[in-house]
Symmetry: C2
Subunit: 210 residues, 2 copies
C-alpha cells in the first residue's frame, strides 16, 4: 500500500509492535498512547509515532492509538494476514523442528512438503508431510505454486538450492544455513550462530566490566 521507502530499522521494529499489541489486546486494552507504547517497548514516543507514520496515520489526536485497529494495520503491512504455502529443504534436525513447530501454521504459513537428498529419508513423513527427493524440487514448486522455501540444508548447497528455487518461481526464501543467501527474490537469513556468538560476546564483556 505504501509508496515511500521505509528504512530497514523501522521494518524490523514492526513485528515487535505487533507482538506487543497482541498481548495488550489479550489483556483487554483498547487504547494506547505513543508514550505508553514507547515505555513498554523501551523506545521513545517520537520514534513510535515516526514509525507508524511511515505507513500512514493510524492514531487519533488527543486519544492515542486503537490497539485492535493498529494491530490489524501492522498485520496488513507485514502481510501476515495472507496464507502462504511453504516447503522445507533439508529434512534434518532443524528442518524437522521447523515442520513440527506450530507457530507458523497459525500465522498462515503452511508447510506442505520436505525435500532431502538422503534416500533413507525420502518417502518418509514428518508431521504428516511427505519427504520428497530434492531432484523434483523445482518442478514441485512450479506445480504447486509454492510461496516460501525454507532452507535447512548444509551450508555448501544452500546458495544453489536458493538459485534453483528462485528459478522455479518461489516468492521468498527463509534461510537457516550459515551463509548469507543472495537472490533475486526476498531472503531472510536466520543466523543462529551469529546470535549465540553475540551472546558469548556480551558474557565475555560482562566478566571484564563487572
Amino acid at each position: 500500500m505504501e509508496f515511500r521507502k521505509v528504512s530497514d530499522a523501522v521494518v524490523k521494529r514492526m513485528p515487535r509492535y505487533y507482538r506487543h499489541l497482541k498481548i495488550l489486546e489479550e489483556h483487554g486494552v483498547d487504547c494506547v498512547s505513543s508514550n505508553a507504547l514507547a515505555k513498554q517497548l523501551g523506545l521513545t514516543a517520537s520514534q513510535v509515532r515516526q514509525d507508524f507514520n511511515c505507513f500512514g496515520g493510524f492514531g487519533q489526536q488527543g486519544y492515542g492509538y486503537n490497539v485492535r485497529k493498529l494491530r490489524r494495520e501492522i498485520r496488513s503491512i507485514l502481510a501476515i494476514d495472507k496464507e502462504y504455502s511453504a516447503i522445507v529443504v533439508g529434512a534434518g534436525n532443524i528442518g524437522t523442528a521447523i515442520t513440527y513447530f506450530g507457530g507458523f501454521q497459525e500465522e498462515g504459513i503452511h508447510i506442505v512438503a520436505l525435500f532431502d537428498v538422503d534416500p533413507d529419508l525420502i518417502g518418509k513423513a514428518v508431521n504428516d508431510k511427505p519427504v520428497l527427493d530434492v531432484k523434483g524440487l523445482g518442478q514441485y514448486i512450479k506445480d504447486h505454486d509454492i510461496d516460501i522455501g525454507i532452507i535447512t540444508a548444509r551450508r555448501s548447497v544452500a546458495q544453489q538450492l536458493a538459485d534453483s528455487m528462485a528459478g522455479a518461481g518461489i516468492k521468498g526464501i527463509w534461510n537457516f544455513a550459515p551463509v548469507d543467501i543472495v537472490s533475486k527474490v526476498p531472503v531472510e537469513n536466520v543466523h543462529l550462530f551469529d546470535s549465540i556468538s553475540n551472546l558469548t560476546y556480551k558474557i565475555g564483556k560482562n566478566k571484564i566490566t563487572d
Copy 2:
C-alpha cells in the same frame, strides 16, 4: 580486552566476518584486503577497517589482513574460543531441535540437560541428555555452574524462567520464546516470528513494486 564502547552494529557484523574468514581459510586464502573483504560481504572498505579498529589493529599496511590471524582475533573477541555449559528449558519441538543440533557443540557450547514441567517428559532423554523437572532448575544451575540458559518454553513463562535462572547465577540467556526478555544478565532474543514476518513483508512489497 577492549575498553572502548563498541556499537551494536559493529558487534552484529563480527560473526559475519568470522563466518566468511572461515570459508576463506578453508579455501586456502592467506591474506585479504579490506577492499576485497568489503566486496565479498557487501560492505565498504572503510567500514571493514573501522570495524576491526574498534578492537585494535589487526592488519598490516601495504599487505592487508592475515586471514588466519584475523579469524582467531574475532574468535577471541566474540569469546567463542571458550567452553560453555548450557541447559535447555522447555523440552518441546524447538528445545529438542536445539539439543540435537550439532552446530553449537562444535563451537564449544555443550548442552548438559533439559528441563520441563510435563511429567510425561521428565525422566526421558533427548540426545542422551536427561529431561529434568523444572522445579530443580535453580539448584541445578548453582550445583553445576551452568553458563547459558536456553529458553524454548511458552511465552507466558519465559520471563519468570529468565528471572529464576539469573537469580541462580546463570551467565547469559538465549531466548527463543516470542517475548523480549529483560534481565540483569546478557540476553539474546531469537525472534523467528519477526524474521518470517519480515520475509512476508518483503514478499508483499515485491508484488506491489514489480
